[in-house]
């Protein structure tokens, strides 16, 4: 089984080699190194380095953070020129909705961030299914929170999974790592999916088959 973690950020590019080593040790076949659209230079560097890395597939991606729908659409069009692997940073309902309606988007990241609800409803879930946009369960969101906030996040993620199961929307579980120390084993990420209500089979697909299919769409 091949495993992929499609949301890894590197604040420091010097850590890249160590991150690759840890990813290999944890059993990954590939990682998605995602950079914000504002840091296009860094994205280009990652793209260059990724060609020389052997034994581990590196998929350079662009994370899009927008304040409004118009800005999001504009940024998607611009970013599409550099990469087909686009991750939209969710949170705002309008953004979540617009991302789910756009088939150019690969992943809707942390739709529940900074919200008092899950950020996904039946409409978003249905659109995401139609447009092949995967909804992300971001481990970093759980890792960086505690007690009350963490319990809310877990509850919202569980609800998103429930909706996704009902509408057949794809779920990807990612580490959302900000550096090498936040990378986690794919089986551990699958365990998070399981405690949130997924079956073992579905949670394993969320770290293997579904990310693999997303990568296939990125030439």
């Amino acid at each position: 089984m091949e495993f992929y973690d499609l949301n890894v950020h590197l604040d420091n590019l010097e850590e890249l080699n160590e991150t690759i080593e840890i990813a290999k040790k944890l059993g990954y076949s590939g990682i998605g190194l995602v950079e914000k659209y504002a840091n296009l230079d860094k994205f280009k560097k990652i793209e260059e380095i990724s060609k020389s890395v052997k034994d581990l597939k590196i998929i350079p991606g662009i994370e899009i953070e927008a304040d409004g729908v118009k800005e999001l659409k504009r940024m998607i069009s611009k970013a599409k020129r550099f990469s087909n692997f686009l991750v939209v940073s969710g949170g705002e309902y309008k953004i979540n909705r617009a991302a789910s309606e756009d088939s150019r988007v690969s992943i809707l990241s942390h739709p529940e961030r900074k919200r008092s609800d899950s950020g996904v409803d039946h409409i978003i879930s249905r659109f995401a299914k139609e447009n092949n946009v995967a909804i992300e369960i971001n481990f970093h969101e759980i890792l960086e929170t505690f007690r009350k906030v963490r319990s809310y996040i877990l509850s919202h993620m569980g609800f998103n999974i429930e909706l996704a199961q009902k509408f057949g929307t794809q779920i990807v579980i990612t580490s959302g790592a900000r550096g090498k120390w936040e990378m986690r084993d794919p089986r551990e990420l699958a365990a998070i999916g399981q405690i949130l209500g997924m079956s073992l089979e579905d949670s394993m697909k969320s770290v293997s088959e579904i990310p693999k299919n997303i990568i296939k769409r990125v030439p």
Binding site: I22, I142, E182, D185, E188, L189, Q194
Partner: protein
């Protein structure tokens, strides 16, 4: 009479699993600190009732300081929670860590054999069907 309960019949015994884990870290870790970090993480995740049902026991004899590997015993229904609690540790003391599980087994012996590569004398004494008894000179270096 001895102050000890009798061994329960197999059907009444708890279903235990042994989870082998390894920790990648910035520096050497203290076993006591790992214990504290794990309990803190587990209690945060499942609470006191959940932790009591998970029936956790750290097998301190199995802690391999050199490779930073160890065994955790837990109830078979709580394996995924224990995995998640392990994954939720990002710092032990002042060192950054990446804990991960090597696998799960039903007995301590099998876990040590499968994940730590330990061999007992029995492995060399019992002849496998159709094969010869291995000579002591063929025994691997890590004979325990």
């Amino acid at each position: 009479m001895e102050d000890k309960t009798k061994n329960l019949p197999p059907t009444l015994r708890e279903n235990r699993r042994y989870l082998a884990f390894e920790i990648i870290s910035e520096g050497k870790l203290d076993f006591g600190e790992i214990l504290n970090a794990f309990w803190h993480s587990l209690l945060n995740l499942v609470g006191e009732v959940g932790a009591s049902q998970a029936n956790i026991w750290f097998v301190s004899d199995s802690w391999d300081e050199k490779n930073q590997r160890g065994l955790i015993r837990c109830d078979n229904k709580y394996v995924e929670y224990v995995r998640a609690a392990l994954a939720l540790i990002d710092r032990i003391g002042d060192k950054r860590v990446v804990p991960y599980t090597l696998g799960v087994s039903g007995t301590m012996k099998a876990a040590r054999r499968k994940f730590f590569g330990e061999r007992t004398l029995e492995d060399f004494q019992k002849p496998e069907s159709g094969s010869e008894v291995s000579k002591p000179s063929e025994a691997p270096e890590n004979l325990v």
